[in-house]
Amino acid sequence: MAGIASFLGRRLIKSVFILLAIVVINFLLVRAAPGDPAMVMAGEAGAADEQYVEQLREQFGLDRPLHEQLGIYVAGVATGDLGHSYRQQRPVWDLILDRLPPTLILTGCAFVLALTAGILLGTLAAMNVGRWSDSAITVLALLSYATPIYWVGLMLILLFSVQLGWLPSFGYESIGAGYAGWDRAVDVAEHLVLPAVTLGLFYMAVYARLTRASILEVRDMDFVKTARAKGLSETRIVFKHVLRNAILPVITFAGIQAGHLIGGSILIETVFAWPGIGRLAFDAVLQRDYQVLLGIFFVTSVMVIVFNILTDLLYSVVDPRIEVA
């Protein structure tokens, strides 16, 4: 237990430095862009004059020297304040919190779906190496790996919403339907199916390939041979012995991917009008809403770090021989 605590401590300290570096780099990067938010707002208002633009700049502190703005921002982040959105007139933290649940639901479901289906398919393929089911799964994995996900999304909408009318085509829930409790959960779930499947499909392919390769790697190792010699059934061998060892690289990879899923959901959130953080990030880029963008970067980076630490911990659970180090 003490080992885990000190491991966590070290990881956290390291994480803080990484986060600080990310905050500084992002700040400088995003500010290197042409155009400032005051100009955009003035422009979009359809008419503007110097006074209006100056007012906006002053209001947002954009008239101060860059290093001062950076200092203020870093100090703010350190105290849990991610700043104020220029355009939306709200604290960035509020905006992100609003958008985070839909994204977490979407990416969470897609992740679980991808991991379960991927590992199952990968195992199935590895158990039947060279047979048609292996080929079929390999081809399926290859295809979903090679297809642009937004395209898959559009095709699924065409098929399941437009042609068959089985599932809603976009949005998070039926607005104005006044559902509550269980009905609402079902409603959200219906909206969730297509985006989650679309997003999950790509990662499923990745995990299936990884699992298959990893099982093949482990299959001929000595301990498996021993198990086989003991006369255990092949299924039991695979699930008890092989998979347990083969799954490690899959978990490592999935752990690293988990945080990135949020970035990957930009495309899906665009196609399905899913009111999540990915779409917020893209809008923020287009509108040069620096504070929001920096906030999203920060939050997603925190999530990646958290996922990485969790992955390491999980690693030690799955395989007790590995010390957390």
Partner: protein
């Protein structure tokens, strides 16, 4: 055109001005009524409207972007409304009067209007809005009300504007987005932009703010205390944020939303949606903004500084192709700087028909001979990043100009970069569109007069065009009280502009407004779906 002129003459004629105005206002109101009378109005129900992109804030005085108007137009109101011919109709003002010398505007306010928090709406709010709030934060209103010498409230329901000099366009300045009435009791002596009440906007309109789920929807509910009896008919309105164009079209198709406006539906989807039995399409309701698309040219840069070059570029474009193939038939080929639905449009100007040979002849005349690879000149085009259709237009322009030996490099930017480049004159050509706001003195002159060459300011004279005669004509027309003289001045200005070609006018744009057939009266005025929707009612969903 002649109708509008006649109206304006009536406006300034002495004697029974107020009476005739009141009469015409009543006539307009009556004209809008029959559609309603034909069918039994059904009360109650929910309307679902697309709003895209999501507005940054709903306080109309602080932000006047299109989406903000769509939503906030139901919450806030102006003193006047305007019919499709841009004639004023009663809003928060039930009647108005213009003195014969064009210097005094007197508005009689409704006695029974209230803010959503129950406070009565009075002349004090009008004085506050037009002298304090709007001049401080609203660029367009600041320009309009700079003509005002004083604003007085002789009693709680009368407001008198005294102008420094005649400004006949002044009567167009009271549309809801141009001069939304803001509550004095909430904003007086506060920092308007930081006021905590901005999160829960309070207006006088038929609908009240209820909830805003960012990234998803905005919910407005019926104002039970609205001053017009029995109105509004609807129980509530949902404004749905749908970022993807294909999803928006689908939402209309499936009946998930009832109304779309502006660019919500991409032009290529228009014919398909129009054919659906449950949808109707109209291009009415944009008369106030009267958008005009054009190619802006930075006239400071060679060879763009030569008007023959600009004329050649104009001759190289097939604007009917642009209308038919890129906008799928929406819009009218523009002939000059004033949209033909705006008063004082001058049709008798030089024409720039599609004629690549003429274009090449003009380039030859300039001495721009083609090099071995056929290229005569190289310029850049920084397209407005406002979606698919504008990108298609830029691609077409590149090909069309390439055909006469003008090689175009497209410079891609996002909205922020584009605004930055164009407003700081760091561009050669760009395609975009401008609004006209009902009168050339409000929406047209600003982009051509040398006074308005202001670096860093978007939708000013970013072309850097300067012609003393044009300056003189626009300046004179702004303060000319005699409509006939005014027309003369504005016509001359238009003729000069079309000859000089500081911009290449492309189309008088038409936006498609789609309305589900179960919705009635969605478009009844010059601002279309930005109107307050007090008259809108829906048939129950079957």
């Amino acid at each position: 055109m002649s109708n509008r002129l006649a109206f304006l003459r009536r406006l300034t004629a002495s004697g029974a001005v107020a009476a005739s105005l009141l009469a015409s206002a009543a006539m307009v109101a009556a004209a809008a009524a029959p559609a309603m009378a034909q069918e039994q109005i059904q009360k109650g129900g929910t309307l679902s409207v697309i709003v895209q992109p999501e507005p940054p804030i709903l306080v109309l005085g602080l932000n006047q972007q299109g989406p903000t108007q769509t939503v906030a137009g139901k919450i806030y109101e102006g003193l006047l409304r305007y019919d499709h011919d841009l004639s004023p109709m009663p809003g928060l003002a039930e009647s108005w009067e213009v003195s014969p010398d064009g210097l005094t505007y007197t508005f009689k306010l409704r006695q029974d209007a209230k803010w959503h928090d129950g406070t009565p709406f009075t002349a004090k709010d009008v004085v506050f809005s037009t002298t304090e709030f709007l001049p401080e934060v609203h660029p367009r209103a600041r320009a309009n009300f700079s003509h005002v010498e004083s604003v007085e409230a002789p009693d709680d329901h009368t407001v008198v504007f005294k102008l420094k000099q005649p400004f006949p366009a002044f009567l167009k300045a009271f549309e809801v987005s141009s001069a939304p009435m803001m509550p004095a009791h909430i904003y007086e002596d506060t920092d308007y932009k930081q006021n905590p009440k901005n999160a829960t906007p309070i207006g006088t309109g038929p609908f009240k703010f209820d909830e805003w789920v960012k990234g998803s929807h905005i919910h407005l509910v019926k104002n039970e205390d609205y001053y017009l009896d029995g109105k509004p008919y609807l129980d509530d309105i949902y404004f749905r944020v749908i970022p993807d164009a294909a999803s928006r079209a689908l939402a209309l198709e499936t009946g998930e939303v009832d109304v779309s406006q502006y660019n919500d539906v991409e032009p290529f989807d228009v014919p398909r949606l129009e054919a659906l039995p449950h949808l109707s399409m109209t291009t009415k309701g944009y008369e106030f903004v009267a958008p005009l698309s054009w190619i802006e040219i930075n006239t400071r840069e060679a060879p763009l500084d030569d008007k023959r070059f600009r004329q050649a570029l104009a001759h190289a474009l097939d604007r009917e192709f642009i209308r038919d193939r890129i906008w799928f038939g929406l819009g009218r080929v523009a002939t000059g700087p004033v949209n033909s639905v705006t008063p004082f449009h001058e049709p008798d100007v030089p024409q720039y028909e599609y004629d690549p040979q003429k274009a090449e002849a003009l380039l030859d005349e300039m001495g721009l001979e083609p090099y071995a690879d056929g290229v005569r000149a190289e310029i850049t085009l920084t397209p407005m990043p406002y979606g698919e259709t504008w990108a298609r237009l830029a691609e077409y322009i590149k090909q069309a100009w390439g055909k006469i030996g003008v090689e175009v490099t497209l410079e891609s930017t996002d909205v922020a970069g584009w605004v930055q480049k164009v407003s700081n004159w760091d561009y050669e050509t760009t395609n975009d569109f401008v609004y006209q706001y009902g009168d050339p003195s409000l929406g047209v002159a600003r982009t051509y007069i040398s006074d308005n060459i202001r670096k860093g300011v978007m939708f000013s004279n970013t072309m850097g065009y300067s012609n003393p005669r044009v300056d003189e004509l626009f300046a004179a027309a702004a303060v000319e009280n005699d409509p006939a003289k005014r027309e003369e001045q504005l016509s001359e200005a238009q003729k000069i502009l079309v000859e000089d070609m500081p911009v290449i006018w492309l189309l008088e744009m038409e936006f498609p407004t789609f309305v589900n057939n179960r919705v009635h009266n969605a478009v009844s005025t010059a601002i279309g779906t930005s109107e307050n929707f007090a008259d809108v009612w829906v048939e129950k969903k079957k």
